[in-house]
């Protein structure tokens, strides 16, 4: 667990840098991927990993620091997504890719919904159809597209941090 906590700082800081410097510039229509969400999902879906709850907290704070969206919205969204991932990892652990797609899709929809509602709460006029077609769906598609390589990267990282115990 201590290793997971120590690892969270450099990994999530690097993820935030990559997100703001590169990933946010790569857009499909008006949508872009959320690398932080993908890393949190991929990490939470590693069965042998302990101390996963610290990651969404730190990730939410870091994303909130860089973004105009309040940090507590990111925090709530990431925590719920990781919760879903931890529930699913015990149920469909035989099909990790299915779990990756499921949690990524659910987390992306949740994140987009929260952001959309936040904009509406601020009385910013957003046309639902335009927002869905130009922002929400492209963002979800990009997240699903990137979720697989991110998952395998995080699985390699988890394998290095938590090497498999030798069977007697």
């Amino acid at each position: 667990m201590r290793r997971s906590l120590l690892l969270a700082f450099p990994v999530l800081t690097l993820v935030l840098l990559l997100q703001t410097a590169i990933v946010s510039r790569i857009s499909l229509l008006s949508g872009n991927a959320d690398l932080m969400l993908l890393v949190l999902v991929a990490w939470a879906l590693q069965e042998r990993v302990r101390g996963t709850w610290f990651w969404p907290i730190l990730g939410g704070l870091l994303s909130g620091l860089a973004s105009g969206i309040p940090w507590y919205l990111y925090l709530a969204c990431y925590l719920l997504t990781v919760l879903l991932a931890r529930v699913l990892v015990r149920r469909i652990w035989q099909a990790p890719l299915l779990a990756v797609f499921t949690v990524t899709f659910a987390g992306s929809v949740l994140l987009m919904t929260i952001m959309y509602l936040q904009r509406l709460f601020l009385q910013i006029p957003l046309e639902f159809g335009l927002t869905s077609s130009q922002v929400v769906l492209p963002s979800i598609l990009l997240n699903l597209f990137l979720s697989i390589p991110v998952f395998f990267l995080m699985r390699d990282l988890a394998g290095r941090v938590y090497p498999a115990e030798a069977v007697a």
């Binding site: 946010s24 857009s27 105009g68 601020l122 910013i124 130009q134």
Partner: protein, 281 residues
Amino acid sequence: MKTSFPLSLQTAIIVLISLGLILLALGGVFAPVTNQFQRLGVGVQTWVSTRYLAIVDFLTVPRDVASLRQRNSELEAEVARLQSQVIDLQQRVTETEILSALVDFARANPVYTYKAAAVIGRDPSPFLRYVIINVGSNAGVLPGMPVVTDKGLVGRVDAVLAEAARIQLITDSASAVNIRLQTSDTEAMLSGSITGDLSLDMIPQDATVQIGDVVLTSGLGGGYPPNILVGQVINVRKLDSELFQTAAIQPNVDFNRLQFVLVITNFKPVDITPLITTPGP
């Protein structure tokens, strides 16, 4: 019968014959014969030389290929290094051109003081049109300060850290800028959108708006300084059933390729929020 000559006579005859042959050769009598011999000799030597060189080539080619491959790899590495250098220099030229344009803009508008900054990131949320710059409160940047480039208005500072600041672009859906149409001297409100498009609202129905009209900041509301270029009208929508006209705007600034910006540090934005009255029950 055997005739014998004295040795001195034989020697004299040989010398005479030799001298005669030499004189005849110098006189050119033997030229056709010597030419034939020369031609034959040169042909034979050419053939031998060519075959020899072919054999030498055949024996030394493997070594040459290896050395050529090594040389080729060295040259390829050199080309790659030079290409990288060229890209680096082109990048520097581009940056220098941009900074030069910003300096020209600052000189042309000496009323304001500017702080140049590089754009180092974008907001993670696709719902927001914000960028992150590499100067912050340590450089005197404060929230609300307008941000421009040599092409025109970019936005304003939204949040500040010690060494970085977040800029809300005018294309953000929450952005609203009071503007003035230069030709008709009509005031309106510029709004961003979720897709990054700019539109003009609140244009009076009796105002004459034409495609190509230049859009400048009006300075009303105290959020932005006046007369900063924003863009041009590219489409006008006028319906008799509506209170106001609307128009689409082509911004002068390419927001997808923002690299450097200028923060106007001596402009104090006015907070008019307390003056805005909310309708009572």
